[in-house]
Amino acid sequence: MFSRILIANRGEIALRIIRACHELGIEAVAVYSEADRGSAYLDTADEAICIGPASPRESYLNIPRIISAAEIADVEAIHPGYGFLAENAHFAEICRDCNIAFVGPSPESMRMLGDKVEARRIAQKAKVPVTPGSEGEVASEADALKVANKIGYPVIIKAAAGGGGRGMRVVHNDISLRSSYNAARSEAEAAFKNPAVYIERFVVNPRHVEVQVLADNDGHAIHLYERDCTVQRRHQKLIEESPCPVIDEKTREELCRSALRLLKEANYANAATVEFLLDKDKRFYFMEVNTRIQVEHPVTELVTGVDLIEWQLRIASGEPLTLKQRDIHHKGVAMECRINAEDPQRNFAPCAGPVEKFIAPGGPGVRVDTHMYQGAVVTPHYDSMIAKLLVHRPTRAEAIATMKRALAEFTIGPIKTTIPAHLEILSHNLFIKNEIDTGFIERNLS
């Protein structure tokens, strides 16, 4: 096991990793930008090093500064968290070259699965269902038209190097295909430095279901069941829950086994999440793989009792994954609300400013993952998520009731937060009856 690691991230995930380190007897070194100087969670780290000004490019995304900090702090490994450099294969390579363990997959695995076209190919090889689509990159407008007509409209054009909901366009006919195809290529070039796009059948009104997987360096892999992340706004998840409330055990088994097959085909090690779309006939189709720990990982931790960050550290340090599939059970229902510093009344505009009041809820079945506290300041430099509110109860109805109770107790001000929006969603008939899809927020919330 490592004795000292550096966390190349900030905020709530940095704190989460510090906690896992301390439970394993690992010293945790945190890095911070000038915007995060004085943030209370840094005091929980064994050492904290300022690496740059507020701008992510000069701090949390800055590989030389992070590696420098790792060297002067003499750490054995770096945990990248999520976002920032977590899926940057070049960073993982540099860590390897500097003899620093990267808590995540190898750069090769990351590259392979990070290329959406390649990932789709691997899925097909592993006999994982994919939506009808192009065989790899679509290189010309003429090809685009051919593919679109073959698989049938509506189609979606996606950037091969994209992900996280970016670089996607839905097209309904030949006329819009021409302009969308070219626009998609320019956008992909600008955003991801790679103009390659591919085309898939667009699944109308899908649910979003993802499977958590852990794998060690000897090829032993297990799934930890699924999370349903259908409540999204502009491809950003707002509420996640486990188990998926609309699939039967047979579909669940098939879904989870597919995810495992895919990652075994890719020879993957460490934590990953395989994302699927579920159509209204409860058929699932592979979407993409996230080769990192995810924001919503605590949802799985609550229903399975497995500490995912702990296992990431164990696997990265060379330990075998001693958990057996037959030992993994899901119990009860867990739900997470992402509390963002955004104003639902003003189109979810981000709100920065001092946090004069911050009183987190508690009580049975409530878990709060946050770096925020009364007296802190929300700065405009980073993403707006300030807390994750989770509940774990025996049934979905009780989980909803406890979540509403906890949201009502959660006092944050004067900045605006998404708490009122969450309360609205949890009281909505369609959400309660599980009749939602990824377009639910756009259609039903003002």
């Binding site: 030389p64 420098s68 500097c98």
Partner: protein
């Protein structure tokens, strides 16, 4: 208290004073069946380990961040008006170009914006740090061979004029 007890107390007081005078942390005296054990709270001392740079390639110069000193807690009238020369990167501070050389600057040295004031090693690259201000060095705050973080004050400079 009996006379005997008063005498014992005086002895203990003397022992404590002796401990403080000689900076002893712990004392135990056993006299037959009598035992006395005195322990003082310890003061932690940080231990620094210097690192000596080997011959490494020199990187083009990087400007330091020079700004007016923002430490009002420093107190004295002398501190006001001094410029903080801050580290622009994370790394290891070296005051001289090599272990055998003289330091780039010492207290009293004159610097101009392009003067190299130190080297900060980051990822095996030796970065020459420039003063970015004009004046006289009044304080050297970084220690040779020790790690510095972004924004850490390396020198204090009194501006000319």
């Amino acid at each position: 208290m009996s006379d005997k007890q008063v005498q014992k107390l005086d002895e203990i007081k003397e022992l404590v004073e002796l401990m403080i005078a000689k900076d002893l942390i712990e004392v135990e005296i056993v006299d037959g069946d009598n035992k006395i054990h005195l322990k003082r709270p310890q003061v932690q001392h940080a231990v620094f380990q210097g690192m000596v740079p080997g011959a490494m390639p020199v990187h083009p110069e990087i400007p330091a961040m020079a700004s007016p000193a923002t430490t009002p807690a420093a107190g004295t009238a002398e501190e006001a008006g001094l410029i903080d020369v801050k580290s622009p990167i994370v790394g290891t501070f070296y005051s001289a170009p090599s272990p055998d050389s003289e330091p780039y600057v010492q207290v009293g040295a004159d610097v101009s914006p392009d003067s190299v004031v130190c080297i900060i090693e980051a990822m095996k690259v030796m970065n020459e740090i420039k003063a970015e201000c004009a004046g006289t060095v009044v304080k050297v705050l970084a220690t040779n061979g020790k790690a510095v973080e972004y924004g850490q004050v390396l020198f204090k400079v009194r501006p000319h004029g």
